[in-house]
Symmetry: C2
Subunit: 318 residues, 2 copies
């Protein structure tokens, strides 16, 4: 495990992941308090909400109001998600949003058709337009995501060859768009990754992009989420998306029936990192407090483990 | 990950772990059906029940009747747990029990005092008596467990030096008792392990016992259970205790308040192994069926992930 990073950066996604799948009606005040608790715990990047179709996702219709309500902490980035130009324009009109110029690439035609109404290649080539749009607004473009980089419930397994084709196209877009990617995330959107495939695909990304920082967006759909995170850490991966309390899971509908599983749980990941001597910049006890607050808001037991068992700090102090 | 084993053996503990912490009253018929479903899924070693004080653990008072009711499958071992001579004699009187001559060693005086009413060293030396007792009954002694091999909520962190002292004593007992240990399990009884400590301690065991097969008894108390399993697999560990559906967790009481977290979840472990090309001898779809039956019996959502999301088989067949 010699390649373990000294420090990892975590992008907290709970406030968006969690509340977009719950019924609408959570108060702005409570959701703002959760974001503030996460920032207070030391998380330096928090995805607050998405600017998406309010008819399809009414839970996020009040994204602008939520951003406006948060008491911000200096040095913390409060990010948002959008899927199209309209969403981006809405996000850009909210001064509190920290705009990331991230590009999204698809490996699977079927998944891209569903999300974007276009084939993967069509959608991927359109990322050039996004680069121009971001540049026109003075927004730096340095991050790319590969969606369903391991497999997809519509297209099945994504082979390493398919991933390589997507990476090849990303490289072409990078050249044509005159950007320099600093971060490239592999997303295991629906839980197809295993520790071996994580390591092989991280290595593949590094062959295409020797200087990029590789990141992982992992979901704990089938129980291997934390083992996949470990496999990535062992390759020196130091960028992770995660979700406080494991928010985002939908316990009341099977995945096959449309339910989604949450991201890997932020405080469980922070605990594992700290136990292995990897810094996160996060105060674990504060973060557990935020996870408990999230559970209290949602009103049912959430998937995180550490929040229910407690950390080891109290036992070590004895 | 070159040291990954080709095949792992899993000791299923759900029927004991799960029902010992639930309120009494589950029918013998249902519990026998669960054991039968697990054997039907290909699990070759199943811990059915414990022979312990029926006043303290009334859920296991009917252990003998449960064993008698199971329709056994050829080649499957149906094991039991006991903590003292009286329990052993009860287990031995039940012809359906497959008796394991396992020795239990403690690293922590506090934990040993609580479980055994004796210091760790006193308890550990008494294992010689157990060897004699087992030998007198014609039972082979080839397995040892190190309890709380990583840490303990009473004694705090167990250092590698403390573990080494315990291993040294196990070696002395092995010599004095004239047994040859073939399997040595490290138990992370209350969730102190991390992937680095797993790897270091497996290596430590191998320095003391170069020819022993190392096993892991892991609990997913703090979310690192599967990552710890991966770390062990990477060292070539091929013996795991696990619990179907993650049975054994107690969601209604915090760990600090006396609640316990379940073993790592059998079907999640089997899934991860299969995805990495490691054989288990288990039919995953049958095992998921058994997990769902366990959840139906318990009557609340259990911690396993795969049982809720489904495996990848259906998507691969498309």
């Amino acid at each position: 495990m010699n390649d373990l990073p000294k420090r990892v950066e975590i992008h907290e996604e709970g406030p968006r992941e969690g509340f977009q799948i719950e019924p609408p009606g959570f108060s702005l005040e409570d959701r703002a308090r959760l974001v503030e608790a996460l920032a207070g715990a030391g998380l330096a990047q928090i995805q607050v909400a998405s600017f998406v179709n309010p008819v399809r996702v009414p839970q996020m219709a009040d994204a602008a109001e939520l951003f406006a309500r948060i008491r911000k902490v200096e040095g913390v980035r409060y990010t948002a998600l959008w899927l199209n130009e309209k969403g981006f324009e809405r996000a850009r009109s909210v001064p509190q949003v920290d705009i990331d110029g991230a590009l999204y690439f698809y490996t699977s035609d079927a998944f891209s058709q569903m999300n974007n109404g276009a084939s993967a290649e069509e959608h991927n080539r359109k990322q050039i337009d996004w680069i121009r749009r971001y540049h026109a607004c003075g927004i730096k473009v340095d991050t790319a995501y590969v969606m369903t980089a391991f497999g997809c419930h519509f297209a099945g397994e994504i082979s390493e060859q398919q991933l390589a084709q997507t990476l090849d196209l990303i490289r072409a877009v990078e050249t044509e768009g005159e950007v320099h990617l600093e971060r490239l995330y592999l997303a295991d959107t629906v839980g197809w990754a295993n520790p071996l495939s994580v390591q092989r695909r991280v290595e593949l990304v590094r062959r295409f992009f020797p200087h990029v920082r590789v990141g992982m967006h992992l979901h704990d759909t089938r129980g291997a989420g934390m083992a996949n995170a470990l496999a990535a850490l062992q390759c020196g991966v130091d960028l992770f998306d995660a979700s406080v309390a494991g928010l985002g899971g939908c316990p009341f509908s099977g995945h096959a029936a449309g339910g989604a599983a949450g991201n890997i749980c932020t405080e469980d990941l922070v605990f594992m990192c700290h136990e292995m001597g990897i810094e996160t910049g996060v105060d674990l006890e504060h973060l557990i407090g935020a996870a408990k607050f999230a559970e209290q808001l949602i009103g049912r037991r959430l998937e995180g483990r550490l929040m229910h068992s407690g950390s080891l700090a109290a036992y070590r102090r004895q």
